[in-house]
Symmetry: C2
Subunit: 377 residues, 2 copies
């Protein structure tokens, strides 16, 4: 069922436009995937994801879903799609990243990771096999290998050891995945993850090892964790050069609008990031003309639409002054409006990128867009 077809390649960069087919429908790439941590993209309705934001695939976090609502509930209802009513593609991470960043007193060993819930302190154990089993139960169309995402900076020795363990864990993930089936009558696809921190030799080594597993798509992890942007781009370019060109490439946890355009140019097809949603709730807006901090007093009597060119109704309907008031007053509606703006903009951005790849002028368009996207309005 899972397939990837590249329609167009940009003549002046490594950007490509394609279509991923999944059991819950197709995804036009390059794509940005809104993060729906606990089975909800915070502050937006599922129908708004469809009609306003025009999301094609959303993320779920295995760690969060495992703790709440719990896998018993998800199994009983028949998976996350049935639970939250999102009948389009879903991707779940493996839970590893949250275990490392949120879990208390985590211990990483060859067998797996023990950790305590950040909610109630209860003890839990994740392993490559367990991460696959849980993701089988959640039932996402795309599931991720259980890896260790090293922090930045990371000492070379640790990065190498960790990468090697991630490769051994991937073998265990693949074995478990290949010996089990989706629980709900449709196919799931496992994406392996390249690690190697910011070390050129490790990244090449990891990309080669991961490519050798010959899965239908590949992901790049361990970037956008605090390293300089040039390092991120350098590692991405390096890894894209090793990973097979005919399979989707997913750059995990990236990024700003500029990061996304630059990484598309390097050959990345899929992105996810909490930036548009988290920053929205703090009043930071992304638009095609630049970034607006809605907390600034300068917006208090600006009665023009939030973003007159937004594909999103609420951004054309409400004024900057009204949104500024809502954000300033910590009103929920402010978070709703800002989230709709940011996500619809991120989806607009990748859709435009795709159109320009198809038109053959992606690079010129990107170079025109980048300074605008970085402007503080």
């Amino acid at each position: 069922m899972f397939s990837f077809n590249i329609d167009h390649k940009d003549p002046q960069s490594s950007a490509r436009a394609g279509v991923i087919q999944t059991a819950h429908g197709e995804i036009q790439t390059p794509i940005f995937m809104p993060v729906g941590t606990a089975g909800t993209v915070k502050a937006v309705h599922q129908h708004e994801l469809e009609t306003e934001i025009k999301a094609q695939i959303i993320l779920g976090n295995t760690y969060h879903l495992y703790l709440r609502p719990g896998i018993e509930i998800l199994q009983q209802v028949g998976g996350l799609h049935k639970f939250n009513g999102w009948n389009h593609p879903i991707l779940t991470d493996s839970g590893g990243y949250q275990v490392y960043s949120l879990g208390n007193t985590r211990k990483i060993k060859e067998e797996g990771v023990t950790f305590n819930s950040h909610i109630d302190g209860s003890p839990h154990f994740f392993s490559p096999e367990r991460a696959i089993d849980i993701q089988r139960i959640i039932g996402a169309d795309i599931i991720m290998a259980f890896d260790e995402c090293t922090p930045y900076p990371c000492e070379y020795g640790y990065a190498k050891k960790s990468m090697e363990m991630t490769h051994r864990w991937l073998a265990r993930c693949c074995e478990r995945f290949d010996n089990t089936q989706g629980l709900y009558g449709y196919e799931q696809t496992l994406f392996p993850i390249v690690q190697g921190s910011t070390y050129t030799d490790l990244r090449i080594q990891s990309a080669e090892a991961i490519a050798a597993f010959n899965r239908p798509a590949n992901a790049i992890g361990g970037l956008s964790v605090g390293e300089p942007a040039e390092d991120m781009y350098a590692m991405t370019e390096l890894v894209c050069g090793v990973l097979p060109a005919d399979k989707p490439r997913y750059l995990m946890g990236v990024g700003t609008p500029v990061n996304i355009l630059e990484s598309i140019a390097l050959g990345i097809d899929m992105f996810d990031c909490v930036l548009p949603t988290r920053n929205a709730r703090h009043g930071l807006l992304y638009t095609a003309e630049g970034i607006l901090n809605m907390r600034n007093a300068k917006w208090k009597d600006d009665f023009s639409p939030i973003d007159a060119n937004s594909p999103c109704h609420s951004s054309r309907f409400y004024s900057k002054a009204y949104l500024r008031h809502l954000i300033h007053s910590s009103e929920i509606l402010g978070m709703q409006i800002a989230t709709l703006q940011n996500l619809s903009f991120f989806l607009w951005l990748v859709t435009e990128a795709r159109a320009h790849i198809q038109a053959g002028d992606f690079r010129a368009w990107k170079e025109m867009m980048v300074p605008k996207l970085e402007t503080r309005l």
Copy 2:
């Protein structure tokens, strides 16, 4: 412009069905008015108020709007309708109630009330004249007299003195109102407020005094502040007997679904309350079959719709288990869904009440509904 026509009277109670005409459109009574404290009904979009909740009029709180965004902004944009994009009727309270309940170190004197902002402690002064001026700037279709809302219980001597001052304040409100005009080219209407705590003689005295001002509508304040329900009903019935039958009667701050039906039976036409919105955010749902506490574990694997009979899409689309998960995880979407459910139910309830008044079987319907509405599911 403001008018009230009674279409039907219930033969077996004092309930009536009517239509209020305002500059921003008509209101079919009896009506429930969602509370939009700071110019937003928390967690719902304006278009959801229109199409899902079917609100006909919403409330704004003068105290909150005066502090944020402030009257300069509201005057500059041309009033609250223009600011928040709600192009239907709006009612504002006078600010008094919030001054007493939220303001710090408030001092009530004959001239007016000094208080400190609950946001930044800054000193402010409200008087009957100032409350009218501010409400002229906010530009609501219906504005309220500046009164003192006595707490419960309230000593007789204080209740009497306070009521008498409220009457003198009303004279000042009317004078200011009658000597000024709406700022934005449409008419506003001032509602006076009956006080008198839970004392029969004071309530009669106040209702007579307020009726003598001969304004186009009348309100009843100082109830639903902690007194037993039977006292609230007794005072409401008493006051309704004195206030003219051909003018709208607004029972301020009431109440539960049962309170609303019982008060409609006593001759009340308009209601507002934070109950459906505030309780929604804490996971308490109102339905035609009873009350659901979504925090209860019993809902965790109930995959049936939140309310299959709801007029609201989200209540038919999402399951109880999903909403329980969202509320349990303090997700914003949970507050959104629960608010939509409660407000659409409150609007459904008054619309049904109206239909049964028109059909002549309101009393029988009310008696059938009351036990259901009180049921804890």
